[in-house]
Amino acid sequence: MQRHLISAADLTRDDAVLILDTAEEMARVADRPIKKLPTLRGRTVVNLFFEDSTRTRISFEAAAKRLSADVINFSAKGSSVSKGESLKDTALTLEAMGADAVVIRHHASGAPYRLANSGWIDGAVVNAGDGTHEHPTQALLDAFTMRRRLVGRDAGLGKDLSGRRITIVGDVLHSRVARSNVLLLHTLGAEVTLVAPPTLVPVGVESWPCEVSYDLDAVLPKSDAVMMLRVQRERMNAAFFPTEREYARRYGLDGDRMAKMPEHAVVMHPGPMNRGMEITAEVADSARCTAVEQVANGVSTRMAVLYLLLGGSEPAVTNNATARTEENK
């Protein structure tokens, strides 16, 4: 694995499978009475958030704490420039404090890449979402969720998502989740189809390793998982679509549409959901929707990422958990 996690494209198939397998081990820790491992004791993880995102921040925070790392939350809300402190100066400050890893969320695409490659800091950089670029840990937790649901918790170990058909629906243009998922799912052997109104598909998408469709109804029966992206209502003000209702009618997932999906297929959503917009309450609250599960899986997956970037070679989970893994063989 590379030293940083900036893009889902940084991961080979084997890297990604290793992360998912490690995340399964981590998930078992969550089932114990004491949900804590000593693995990263004495290491410092900084959550550097230039953008509000309570969900992602607490997920990373929980992950780091369960690994016994010291966690510093640095919230630099709003533009770094308008605050008068540059990303560089913030990075130098964190470096001086001895950050072993920096988890960064930034409104500017490429900010994590700059942080990792400008010589400002020595620690590992984890991209927790940058602008409209990528959100690789979200893609990993989505892949983890899909593997569990479609292949199986234990049967999935060591496996990828070969041959699975994944449909991603919604505002692809502005979605870092979609970009990371397309790259990672392709690496894991899945067949990805993007569905969106043409206005919300980026010019240049033809180079992506996926199909593009404008017809949700045609794609649903051939999907093993359908991922609904959040669509901001404000987009209609920039003429990306005429009205909320028109969007919901053409690209929203309701009960009738869900019925067209194969029986085993799941509905996913990275949250937060716009109920009534891209997804109806009926679908969101159904047993097929994995949204809440994804949140839980997010912690395990982020534990795996932090462990593999920082932990080195010693086993993450000792004694009984390792024994269980042995049993499973």
């Binding site: 770094s80 490429g110 700059r114 010019v203 240049g204």
Partner: protein, 428 residues
């Protein structure tokens, strides 16, 4: 008066000749000229060009002296072989009055490194709403003939039409920064395959092409001439080619960086590659080279845009747009046009000296290398190969996209009206 004999220089790349400078003018061009009473410069087969003329330079003074001043900018220009530069109007305050253009003009006179011809803003404050006092700027000591809101597009069709018409009274020209503003809201880079992957806001080619199409038609309708700044797309080339074939009085410029660099470089998220208009694709680069060779694009202009280090040492979205270019322009043109066989040195002289001076109605520059002409000359060692090191720049800013890149050619001497501003590659 000082006499200088440049011996054995390939004038415009031709056979070696001697050129005798007497005072401010060229006294004689020939072979075996007498060196009596003259300081001799052995050219040893270097290329002698007319002093280069840049129709598009940002000198930043007044207002952003932390990026560049007229003095540092003209020193950079001389280093790059330029004897005249046109200073863009987007200063603070904007050069939209006779007072500001005269200030820039006077600072140029004082610098002594190259002539500075101010460009006046088309509209007050570059806001695109009300015409600036174009006539007053023309009648001022600065004698402005080129008007541009560069940095911003004159996007209102009526204002553009009126400006094109109005400057006819005194032989002016409007230089358009072609960028449809609505299509480029939030634009960070060329819209295409790379922007889709990087998640950076797209600057579509059509935002440039649609404005150029409108403006050549406006120029035709009102019988004016129009100049297109930093043309950057293959589609723009097609439109200008069509307009010229129709007899429309349009000229166009291309920057060195658009002749060499592509949007693939943006994958590094290094803001040194952030520029407006943005770096385009390989296909565009090839179309621009071909168009410069066949005359569809008339000239090379640098769009020299200095920025302080902190404005580039940051995340992409927060970074300023622009690159310095005066000190590398000729090398990039040699690399992309001469060494590819697309242009000979006479062609370079036409596109970097003769024609820009004509477009800008600048007398005393862009003249033939012949007896009686002003001694504005540039001597180029075309055999030189070197790696670009911004630490050696004369410009106050270092935001070059070529750092560490090997480029051919080096200006060894520049003469401004007979006075050496650069000697053996160093500022005099």
């Amino acid at each position: 008066m000082t006499k200088i004999l440049i011996r054995g220089a390939k004038v415009l790349g031709g056979e070696p000749q001697d050129v005798l400078i007497d005072g401010e003018t060229i006294a004689e061009v020939g072979t075996g000229l007498s060196a009596e009473g003259a300081q001799v410069i052995e050219a040893d087969g270097k290329i002698l060009l007319p002093g280069l003329v840049d129709l598009h330079t940002h000198l930043r003074e007044p207002g952003r002296e932390d990026s560049e001043t007229v003095l540092t900018g003209t020193r950079a220009a001389a280093s790059g072989g330029y004897t005249a530069v046109f200073a863009m109007a987007n200063t603070f305050p904007v050069a939209d009055t006779a007072g500001v253009v005269e200030q820039v003009w006077r600072l140029g006179k004082e610098s002594g490194y190259c002539d500075v011809q101010p460009i006046g803003a088309v509209t007050v404050g570059l806001e695109g709403k009300q015409l600036a006092e174009l006539g007053a700027m023309h009648d001022s000591a600065a004698g402005v003939t080129v008007f541009s809101d560069d940095g911003k597009c004159v996007d209102d069709a009526v204002i553009m039409r009126r400006a094109l018409e109005y400057v006819k009274a005194f032989g002016g020209v409007v230089a358009q920064h072609a960028q449809e503003p609505r299509l480029t809201e939030g634009a960070q880079m060329n819209e295409g395959v790379v922007s889709a992957e990087l998640g950076l806001g797209g600057w579509p080619a059509v935002a440039e092409e649609s404005v150029i199409a409108r403006d050549v038609l406006l120029a035709e309708h009102v019988g004016s001439r129009v100049h297109i700044c930093h043309l950057s797309t293959a589609g723009s080339v097609e439109i200008v080619r069509w307009a010229k074939s129709r007899g429309i009085d349009v000229t166009a410029e291309v920057t060195p960086h658009h002749l060499l660099l592509t949007d693939e470089l943006v994958r590094s998220y290094n803001p040194v590659y952030k520029v407006n208009p943005p770096l385009r694709t390989e296909r565009d680069v090839m179309a621009l080279r071909e168009a410069l060779a066949d005359g569809t694009i008339d000239i090379v202009a640098t769009d020299h845009a200095p920025h302080p280090h902190e404005d580039k040492d940051c995340e992409w979205a927060a970074a300023a747009m622009g690159m310095v270019g005066l000190e590398t322009a000729l090398s990039v043109v040699q690399d992309t046009m001469v060494e590819t066989g697309l242009l000979d040195w006479a062609g370079v002289a036409e596109r970097m000296s003769f024609k820009p001076a004509r477009i800008g109605s600048l007398s005393g520059h862009g003249r033939p290398i012949a007896a009686g002409e002003p001694a504005n000359l540039t001597l180029v060692d075309s055999a030189y190969r070197g790696v670009v090191d911004p630490a050696g720049f004369a410009s106050r800013s270092r935001n070059t996209p070529y750092e560490g890149r090997e480029l051919p050619g080096r200006v060894t001497h520049t003469f401004l009206r007979g006075r050496a501003t650069v000697v053996d590659g160093n500022l005099a």
